[in-house]
Amino acid sequence: MSRIDLIFKTLKRERKKALIPFITAGDPDLATTKGLVFTLEECGAHIIELGVPFSDPLADGPVIQAASLRALGQGVSLGKVLRLVEEIRQGTEIPLVLMTYYNPVFRLGLEKTARQAALAGVDGFIIPDLPPEEAGEWRELARANNLDVIFLVAPNTPLSRARFVASKTSGFLYAVSVTGITGKRKGIPEGLIHYLRMLRGVTRKPLAVGFGISTPSQVMEIAPLSDGVIVGSALVDLVAHYGNKRGGFAHIRSFVKSIAEALP
């Protein structure tokens, strides 16, 4: 059983939901990212998503694009993120998931990526531009290295396809809350409740909801219909403002705690 499976199992027993924060690795620098991971864990995160910067992040809105550019400016690459994970892993057992576009993985080599990631202590991958149809070889290599491969479904994914995607995902199923890109949004998208209920009907795997979730009140509405929430842009925005300021972590802490407290 993977670390991710284990955490969802434990949370389910305790009738709790997972808090999954996303930060871009290397923004503002790798040392801060390392510190942030431990801070996020202290504040109640259950799984952490680390974004690998890419020059052309076409599923991301302006906030994560900008973070990605800043990290690239620091010379951050997939290789460096893997080494960072290795360091972080010395100090924590929290599940770490890499969110990366496919090209850096393809370029490093699928096998090499899977092997090095497993050795470093990565638990899984989310690759938004690698749908299950294109991921045959990657899934095999990931499985051989005990890595979870997390696929996404979107509100316009038909029921039959959602069933197919859910059958291929491992760790959890990532439910994109809107037809759109990442970024903070107000309120709950129309139809989200119905869509999440529909997803519940197609899989028994854990369901985590992401894209646009930035406030405790959104979390309170969404949490009962899912097994976890992913908070990205809102947090990345705070990191951009306070990440390298003295005492800046206090702002980040209070935000993450407010989200954690909104969760059952």
Partner: protein
């Protein structure tokens, strides 16, 4: 080609966020349905004929042939198509398809502005709302085309992300499409992007090769020996190559070597790049060791792209076509020679094909035939060339 999953050999595919998977499937089905529908084809052919001015002439460039020595050189005059380039073939097809699918809004990316102008033109013709994404750097470099698009009723949205050029405009257009996919049709300008775009754009552009084939058979009674076309994303090249792909004809794609292949300032993706994933397809790319996409460079704005259509990657690997490159300086020489010998000012993109032909022709004999795809006219580039002559500065 492509196969069911949209692959040309190992290249192509559909590397896109989940939100686009279903719309791409619908697009593929709509395209197939349209191409099987006699009425759709008739409507498209009607507009290609009376609106875009097809068939474009096939012109025997006697002066150029004599000056270079060797083969008889024919020019396929896409520069005479409406809006001044081959781009209109594709945008009429895609916008008609968008209309058939009931979409109310058209979006497109543009680098130099040629595809943007051709899309805005088709959107005006069919009365659809039109938004064009264009890198901020290009908006500045191509002010005239920005104004043309606005005259045509399109809204030009400057893209301030990344390198602020064509690849970023495509990223932003894809982000728009992901967000407004229900009512929006994305008109891609070249044989790039996720399946079915590379196939669809090739189909709409193949009219170039089909006409040229017929025209040559009529005038010369035979096929050409060599076909030369410039390659950025590769739509004009594939458009002329494709109908000849099974013939004993040498197909040569000319990439932009910019300041030289030994510098980092070029767009020679097939000559110097390596396989990777950009804009939804696996193909050759200009990328760093870490898999970050590099900026491309060419004096010709339409060749300035760090990727290339996946079918070209397949043509290269399988030897169906060969790919060469010429520098900015050589392209300028091609620009001049065609202007002076034939009174035809070519687009800087097409000037790359002329430039390579200047190198190639002396090695051929006068019983041979070279066919060049003259993909666009050069009015849009006169300012770039003039500035270059004045300052000798790289744009």
């Amino acid at each position: 080609m492509p196969d069911k999953k949209g692959y040309f050999g190992p290249y192509g595919g559909k590397f896109v966020p989940e939100t686009l998977i279903t719309p791409l499937k619908e697009l593929r089905e709509a395209f197939r349905g349209a191409m099987r529908d006699r009425h759709f084809r008739a409507e498209l052919n009607y507009y290609l004929k009376v609106y875009a001015g097809r068939p474009t002439p096939l012109y025997l460039a006697e002066n150029l042939s004599k000056t270079l020595g060797g083969a008889r050189i024919y020019l396929k005059r896409e520069d005479l198509a409406h809006t001044g380039a081959h781009k209109i073939n594709n945008t009429l097809g895609q916008v008609l398809l968008g209309k058939r699918m009931g979409k109310s809004r058209i979006i497109a990316e543009t680098g130099a502005g040629q595809h943007g102008v051709a899309t805005a033109t088709a959107a005006a013709l069919f009365n659809l709302k039109c938004h064009i994404y264009m890198g901020e750097v290009d908006v500045r470099r191509q002010a005239m085309n920005v104004y043309r698009m606005q005259l045509l009723g399109a809204e030009v949205i400057p893209v301030k992300q990344g390198s602020c050029t064509l690849k970023d405009a495509i990223n932003e257009a894809i982000r728009d499409w992901v967000t407004h996919v229900k009512d929006t049709f994305y008109v891609i300008g070249s044989v790039v992007g996720p399946n079915p775009y590379p196939m669809m754009v090739r189909e709409f552009q193949s009219v170039i090769g089909r006409e040229a084939r017929q025209q040559l058979k009529r005038t010369e009674g035979r096929l050409p020996d060599i076909i030369v076309a410039c390659v950025g994303g590769g739509s004009n090249a594939l458009g002329i190559f494709y109908p000849f792909r099974r013939d004993p004809v040498r197909l040569i794609g000319v990439e932009a070597a910019g300041l030289g292949l030994d510098t980092e300032r070029h767009s020679a993706t097939l000559s110097k790049g390596s396989p990777g994933i950009l804009h939804g397809a696996l193909s050759y790319l200009l990328q760093t060791e870490d898999g970050q996409i590099m900026e491309a460079h060419s004096l010709a704005p339409g060749l300035d792209y760090p990727g290339v259509g996946p079918e070209h990657a397949f043509f290269k690997d399988s030897g169906m076509a060969s790919y060469v490159s010429v520098t900015d300086d050589e392209a300028l020489e091609g620009f001049r020679i065609l202007s002076e010998t034939e009174g035809i000012i070519p687009a800087l993109e097409s000037a790359h094909a002329i430039a390579y032909t200047s190198r190639l022709a002396p090695e051929t004999t006068d019983d041979q035939i070279i066919l060049i795809n003259l993909s666009g006219r050069g009015d849009k580039d006169v300012a770039i060339v003039a500035e270059r002559e004045k300052g000798g500065k790289d744009s």
